[in-house]
Amino acid sequence: MYDVAVIGGGVIGTSIARELSKYRLKCVLIEKTNDVANGTSKANSAIVHAGYDAPYNTLKGQYNKLGSDLYEQLCLDLDVHYKRVGSFVLAFEDEDYKVLNLLKDNGEKLGIKGLSIVDRTFILSKEPNITPEVIGGLYAPSAAITDPFGLTVAMMENAMDNGVDLMMNFPVNEINREKEYYNILSGDNRIQAKYIVNAAGVYADEILKMVDSESTFKIRPRRGQYYLLDKSADGLVNSVIFQCPGKKGKGVVVAPTVDGNVLIGPTSEDLEDKNGIETTKVGLDDVKVSASKAIENIPFYENITTFAGLRAESNLDDFLIGPYHETFYNVAGIKSPGLSAAPAIAEKVSKDIAEYFKAERNLHYNPKRSYVKAFMSMTLEEKNNMIEENPMYGNVICRCEQITEGEIVESIHRNCGGRTVNGIKRRIRPGAGRCQGGFCMPKVIEILSRELNIPQEEIVKENQGSYILTGRTKAGATCTTL
């Protein structure tokens, strides 16, 4: 019997799980798929917003600001990439200044420091690739970029280090409330917990419905499509570039990533389909056209992948955060700026729950987690020591990102370790480079198969069913005639 079950292994759920591990509570995180960071958390803009955008009197605005303040230390504690690169909102017409001033006022009401309206010269000196039609902009030095899947994995790993359990491949299809606890069911499997946190992302409305059939809360996913350009496009922009916001959010963003790529997107498309993570020609073309208004000569021929993610837009304007009743807590409809807000939301939620349980502090709680050290970032001496200690560090598997077998093996054998090809890619980056796994995927599959002791045919790319190999050649005789 668990005290708390957190449903959903995205950045929100894992952040809450980690915060809960600060207390003497027996917690489990329940994830539908075979990995954490497998929904919205793996396909977003990877930006820690400064926080001037969402209105100051909303949860979105408040948690964004609070989250943004926590990020740097959090990423230091968890050994996750974080770079405070600043952001610009560009103005192209005099009209736009009205919006910029509103954003600045809003941000200042929230206590965001350093916001300033800057002129064209300042912008072009910092960002020479911005189109010359720009007339000015809002500069926010506290905006940052991070690694959203690295962070989610780190949160879960650290939560597990501090005693939280992880239950994957557990799609919840029924929740029964007993007197003192809940039965959380997934087919024939059952988890019992006294308290539930609903952090199920785009499925949070369905989880809520399992305990309240009358609930009118509804999530309508909003799709965002992106281009990811090769590292050779690094330097196209140095900071996060927004255009003046319209009715459908912040518009297309051009941003550097912590790994040195350039990310361009998203679209804003309201969907009914919660699996609707396909890209479309229309959507991708829209991104191209929109981004080209802000940045000149974007090298789209350097594109290495396109992808789409779903934001958990709901029928509420704001986040839905709070106890639904005394033992069921919603953290739902966490749309943008959810990634930025996650650390602050998690603090609030865990405090409320600890208070409910009157839980004591976990004296063994360790906030630190250090990740697999990147071989290429080591000094020559460290590299040679590493190889001597473990020759697998001398075997480079991914040529594009220069990742060694040693790093991959280490990323498998950790709490919340990688189990799938994409899981390994998100943790340690083989296959995230320009060849997109053409060379290293077979080797990653071989390593996963060896380390997990399962046949190569059973290794999947992403979710269950995404097998890559269909069997051995020469397995059975085939006889067809010409």
């Binding site: 479309t280 992948t305 992808f307 040529r399 594009c400 060849c435 979710n463 995404s466 010409l482």
Partner: protein, 412 residues
């Protein structure tokens, strides 16, 4: 200090090292990232190699084996499972293998890293992102070396030779290949491959057709094809859903020049490879390049020829053999995409200039001009982007040439 470090143990690296050794260079080291020599040829088990070099038809492994045998007979030093992480303009080579991370020095370097395949991302095919989408080369390695099948019902995008060859291989191994789509109105593969890989097995080739959507949540369940007009725009209403669990991409190769960039070597925006002179020397003195790292070749035989030239040139460079200098820029003009070499530095008895045309030309001529003067013209019945063209220029023609040379395609 090595005389020559060769980077890459495929056909280019092997031939370059062998030729350099034959020219009397002693301290040669060849570096290979894979666990064996031979490069991509080891997975190209089909025949069709060697007609020019050996005057007989060999399979890829046989072609590689012959060079490996010579290479071993000459006792040239090599290291396997060794990745080159960096080359500096000072000709330091950073390598890593299970012995450690070392920085080697060389008087000359020959780049022979080959090329890689373009991926789905490069052409941004919209749709879902299920498993079952692989480059043809990755599938080829699985089938021919690892011994794994990658699918049962197969569609292939791109009619390059690897795609065609894989259509036959997958069929012979028991898969059902439903078709090959090609964006262009003509195939990029050799006609003989269309006959013996597709026609032999009744596999349809759909020209002016591309894939516009990818279906399937986890594993690929189908693709949507559509026809395109002469501007490659999708023709509405021609969309067709085809169920399949595998999509192989054969949509082009790109020279792999990450190391060249680190060595601050100038690259050609068209070939994506280093700019070289007739010695195959790059913009960095003493660093030579050959094979698919320079530009993608049609036949391995031509890679071998180029690599031997690079090996010889590197040897001459080390021996400081004097040649008469005469810089000539070569410009690709109307109808010509690129030339290799891109410029000449020295006069020799004869230079071979390779080039690619930008569309199919029937009964046209190659026009070679020096400044605005026509130097010579060569009639051709047939030229196509898929077939590398070449011309020879003799000493007297080069001597008559000014500082600029252009190659274009003109009507007869």
């Amino acid at each position: 200090m090595y005389d020559i470090i060769v980077i890459g143990g495929g056909p280019a690296g092997l031939a370059a090292a062998i030729e350099a050794k034959k020219q009397g260079i002693e301290k040669i080291l060849l570096l290979e990232r894979d666990e064996e020599l031979g490069g991509i040829l080891q997975q190209c088990i089909h025949n069709g190699f060697g007609l020019h070099v050996f005057k007989e038809e060999l399979t890829g492994p046989e072609y590689a084996q012959r060079f490996m045998n010579t290479f071993h007979d000459l006792n040239i030093a090599y290291a396997l499972n060794t990745m080159v992480m960096e080359i500096t303009p000072e000709k330091e080579v950073h390598i890593v293998n299970d012995q450690g991370y070392q920085i080697l020095k060389a008087k000359a370097i020959i780049l022979a890293m080959g090329c890689r395949e373009r991926t789905r991302g490069a052409i941004a095919i919209p749709g879902k992102r299920p498993s079952g989408i692989l480059t043809a080369g990755t599938a080829q390695r699985y089938l021919n070396i690892e011994g794994y099948m990658v699918g049962k019902e197969v569609m292939i995008l791109g009619s390059g030779d690897i795609g065609l060859i894989m259509a036959r291989r997958m069929t012979l191994e028991g898969a059902h290949v439903k078709g090959v789509c090609e964006l262009m109105p003509h195939s990029n593969g050799l006609t003989r491959n269309i006959v013996q890989c597709l026609d032999d097995f009744d596999i349809p080739l759909q020209l002016s057709t591309t894939i516009v959507d990818i279906l399937g949540e986890e594993r690929l369940t189908g693709v949507v094809t559509a026809q395109v007009d002469e501007h490659y725009n999708i023709i509405k209403g021609t969309e067709k859903e085809i169920s399949c669990d595998t999509l192989l991409l054969s949509i082009g190769l790109i020279p792999e020049n990450e190391l060249s960039k680190k060595a601050e070597i100038l690259l050609d925006s068209k070939t994506k490879g280093p700019i070289v002179n007739e010695q195959l020397q790059t913009s960095q003195e003493g660093i030579f390049a050959c094979g698919n790292v320079v530009h993608v070749h049609d036949l391995v035989d031509y890679v071998t020829e180029e690599a031997e030239n690079a090996g010889r040139a590197a040897a001459h460079y080390l021996k400081d053999i004097k040649k008469s200098k005469k810089p000539i820029e070569i410009k690709p003009e109307t109808g010509v995409v690129y030339t290799v070499p891109q410029h000449l530095d020295y006069i020799s008895d004869q230079v071979k200039i390779l080039f690619r045309v930008n569309s199919v030309f029937k009964h046209h001529q190659i026009v070679i001009k020096s400044d605005d003067q026509i130097l010579k013209t060569i009639k051709k019945n047939h030229m196509a982007p898929g077939e590398m063209m070449h011309i020879y220029l003799k000493r007297e023609e080069l001597e008559a040439c000014e500082s600029k040379l252009s190659i274009s395609i003109g009507e007869l």
